[in-house]
């Protein structure tokens, strides 16, 4: 296209060129001709996993992300069950899922208060200096802030106790876990679980009170700028209820109809990845439909993962309070699937409630203190796939090994990668809607940023941008490539 006269670069200086930026091209009317979302990072994990001992994969791959290390650790562990052809024991499965529920609860609530939440709780156009955890504390009160800090600490202590370390845990082994739950520990965890459920319901209430009761926010959530009609993917139990640890991968089309349901072992028949020369991230798409560019609709192979996608792809939640909220969610927004990206925040608190309730169920399960925590592999290892729902969406690990259990191949489809195409579209669409006639200000830029922050700021396990207030630098170039305006916030 000709006539693109100005270029705006939104560069999170937190990451400099490291982790993600938005480049916006304006046409000569000052409207957006296209916004590009670039992820300029690649670390080559798939390469350097080759040659490693397979049993080390859970610890090596957790280093993909220090914010959600437990997700990679668990996906790799599940792939090792498959690779070593060993069925984990009853107790091991329950300990894994309990630990994982604790992780989801902790990680999702971190997001609500520290990361994406400030946009809504403090307000999308509030001064930048207030749009962070401190602003959230002002809004909800210091008592609440303490509650959040101590809840996080209690939950992370459980992961540390069972997993050795909370950042880069070590519990996962093919066929089981390295450490069991004593009765004494179970009693302590049960108390945390009781408080966890209370805390989760409180989180949901915070969101409802501050966000859903505010008509302006709700209008923003349902506005066209933040809407894409794509397919949705998520891991489901046998009742098609959301499950983070186990199940079948289910895909629904933009009308909500189930189009695919498969075991992770069949993922290569269903998913392929497209690449573009202007970003390091790859764009997964549904093979059945093919890659047709950055477009939505029923013919597009682009799909979405993460909380909203999971709720859309499911028939319900497996725990009582989460199920009630699930019904309210779709009733309030009036359709299923819900195509509004910003509804991810609400979907996330419903999952917080589910994770807390599931944690409570499992910690009170008599099997949880069993001593059968390991099944030792006896078969020759060859190939294995594993899937979990990371907080940020479906996470697939795939390994091949020789008979000694030395890895000969690896393929990883990380959560935010599945969202990368939809995220690219979201940023483009939000930019088109927010910038008209060359008018650019702080609030507008935040609205564009919100488009991808709704998917999650630790996006793609590639950017790991933690803050609610991501510092940005914006440069507007004229046709000669000279800066005519510079903004920062």
């Amino acid at each position: 296209m000709t006539g693109a006269t100005k270029q705006i670069v939104v560069n999170p200086i937190t990451r400099l060129e490291g982790h993600g930026r938005i480049v916006i091209f304006l046409d000569d009317r000052g409207d957006v001709s296209r916004a590009y979302f670039q992820v300029p990072e690649l670390r080559g994990f798939e390469n350097f996993l080759v040659g490693r001992q397979a049993e080390d994969a859970p610890q090596i791959t957790s280093r993909i992300c220090g914010v959600c290390p437990t997700a990679h650790h668990m996906a790799a562990t599940r792939a090792l069950d498959d690779l070593f052809k060993v069925e984990p024991t009853k107790t091991a499965k329950k300990i894994r899922e309990m630990l994982y529920s604790v992780f989801i609860l902790e990680d999702h609530s971190l997001h609500l208060f520290f990361l994406g939440g400030p946009d809504f709780i403090v307000g999308p156009t509030a001064p930048k200096g207030d749009r962070n955890i401190l602003g959230v504390l002002q809004k909800v009160g210091l008592e609440v802030g303490k509650k959040v800090i101590f809840m996080r600490k209690d939950l992370r202590n459980i992961i540390q106790e069972l997993g050795g370390k909370v950042i880069h845990p070590v519990f996962g082994l093919p066929g089981g876990v390295a450490k069991g739950v004593t009765e004494e520990a179970r009693d302590r965890y049960a108390k945390v679980a009781d408080r966890g459920v209370e805390f989760a319901l409180f989180c949901e209430k915070v969101l409802e009170d501050l966000v859903l009761s505010n008509k302006d926010y709700v209008n923003m959530i349902v506005s066209d700028a933040y809407t894409h009609r794509t397919s949705y993917m998520g891991l489901m139990d046998k009742n098609n209820h959301v499950n983070f640890y186990d199940g079948m991968i289910r895909v629904v089309d933009p009308s909500g109809k189930e189009t695919e349901k498969f075991r992770v072992q069949d993922y290569l028949s269903h998913i392929a990845e497209h690449s573009e020369p202007w970003t390091y991230v790859k764009f997964p798409y549904l093979k059945r439909l093919g890659w047709h560019g950055f477009v939505d609709g029923p013919e597009s192979g682009i799909y979405s993962v993460a909380p909203l996608a999971r709720l859309n792809a499911s028939d319900g939640m497996a725990t009582p309070n989460a199920q009630k909220l699930y019904e309210k969610f779709f009733k309030t927004l009036g359709t299923k699937p819900v195509h509004h990206t910003l509804a991810n925040h609400w979907a996330r608190v419903i999952e917080i409630v589910y994770a807390a309730e599931r944690f409570k169920e499992l910690v009170n399960d008599p099997d949880i203190t069993g001593t059968d925590i390991r099944a030792i592999p006896t078969e020759k290892p060859s190939e294995g796939m594993g899937v979990v729902e990371a907080p940020r969406g479906t996470l697939i690990h795939h390994y091949k090994s020789d008979e000694r259990g030395i890895l000969t191949g690896a393929n990883l489809l990380v959560a935010t990668q599945h969202n990368s195409a939809r995220m690219a579209m979201s940023v483009d669409k939000a930019a088109r809607s927010a910038i008209k006639g060359g008018v650019v200000n702080d609030g507008i830029l935040n609205q564009i940023e919100m488009a991808f922050r709704a998917y999650d700021p630790c996006h793609a396990c590639a950017t790991h941008s933690m803050p609610g207030s991501m510092p940005l630098r914006v440069q507007i170039f004229d046709a000669d490539g000279k800066i005519y305006k510079e903004l920062s916030r």
């Binding site: 400099l16 001709s33 080559g44 390469n47 350097f48 370390k165 909370v166 970003t279 000694r404 393929n411």
Partner: protein
């Protein structure tokens, strides 16, 4: 009132775990915030590179830098912070020794791109594009940072005064380091701010460690369910505690898994992996080559085992020129 010391945090190529470790100070983070002025912390606070550039040289009391260095801008930022800081602390295994991303030094850019964009199972046969440093799109020109062939530790690009080891460092060690800085009781430059002895000395299982460690058989972690009350080495599991610096309080061993060496070597050792290999050869209780080979079948990936966190700082690191496009 005396001026508070100025502190900066920065991250290079990292997973974000070191930042989480700072957040894991939990309520103690408030004490730190009360005692110092944080002048730069991109992950949490809105200060710009320009703000750092405008500071007087040496005006930052201490900069904590985590992550390995693999992009030119990371190197530039490290150099800028070096100029503005009295003290630079390499924070975490990646910055200290290259870390797990440093295992990528077994490959180079071309082989990584080839697999990731052309040969992997979800891309093969598609004839897809790979990232270009500069590409014309219909609306204009887009640029990407170049991807180095080689991952570096922080002290390979700037002078480092102290090291806080670990993947990640524990909040306790961080708090101790801040305390030491505030009180001015700093150890000699170049020190690693953790334990000075091997991990075994602080391990709960040390009492069950045999006086003289000699093994006729090794076991890989997935092959054995360990007795949580007994030294892992005594059970044939290759725990690297004896060659690894202490300070982490044996967290992994508390999870019934062996130490994998993220704290790096003790003071007198320069090459962690070489020390690890020497240790291994000292505990294998055989003299015949074929017997030894049999035991070593359980160590099929010595690079991944002994250099898991330190390949970029190994004596055996390659001497390839770093391409800067």
């Amino acid at each position: 009132m005396a001026k508070k010391p100025k502190v900066a945090f920065y991250w290079c190529a990292s997973c974000g775990g070191c930042e989480e470790a700072v957040v894991d100070l939990a309520e103690a983070v408030l004490d730190v915030v009360a005692a110092v002025d944080i002048v730069f912390w991109p992950v949490a606070l809105d200060f710009k590179v320009e703000d750092v550039e405008a500071m007087k040289d040496g005006s930052i009391t201490v900069s904590f830098i985590n992550g390995a260095v693999r992009l030119s801008e990371q190197e530039e930022m490290a150099k800028l912070l070096r100029k503005k800081s009295q003290v630079v602390i390499a924070f975490g295994s990646c910055s200290h020794m290259g870390g797990i991303p440093g295992l990528a030094n077994l490959w180079d850019k071309d082989s990584i791109f080839d697999y990731y964009y052309h040969k992997g199972p979800t891309v093969q046969g598609q004839n897809g594009s790979e990232p270009l440093m500069k590409v014309e799109v219909p609306e204009g020109v887009l640029e990407l940072p170049s991807f180095w062939d080689t991952v570096k530790s922080l002290d390979q690009v700037i002078k480092v005064d102290y090291y806080l080891p670990g993947c990640p460092p524990t909040p306790k060690l961080l708090a101790n380091a801040v305390q030491a800085l505030l009180s001015g009781k700093l150890p000699p430059p170049g020190s690693v701010l953790a334990g000075t002895r091997a991990l075994c000395h602080e391990c709960n299982l040390n009492e069950s460690k045999p006086e003289k460690l000699l093994l006729k058989e090794l076991k890989r972690v997935h092959e054995v369910q360990v007795d949580p009350k007994k030294c892992l080495l005594a059970q044939g599991v290759l725990c690297l505690g004896p060659v690894t610096r202490g300070g982490c309080e044996a967290l992994c061993i508390g999870g019934n898994m062996p130490c994998t060496g993220c704290f790096g070597p003790t003071d007198e050792v320069k090459d962690y992996g070489a020390k690890g290999v020497a240790f291994l050869s000292s505990i294998v209780d055989f003299n015949e080559e074929k017997d030894i080979a049999k035991v070593l079948e359980k160590v099929p990936d010595p690079v991944g085992l002994f250099y898991r966190y330190s390949l970029p700082t190994s004596f055996m690191r390659r001497t390839l020129e770093v391409k800067r496009e």
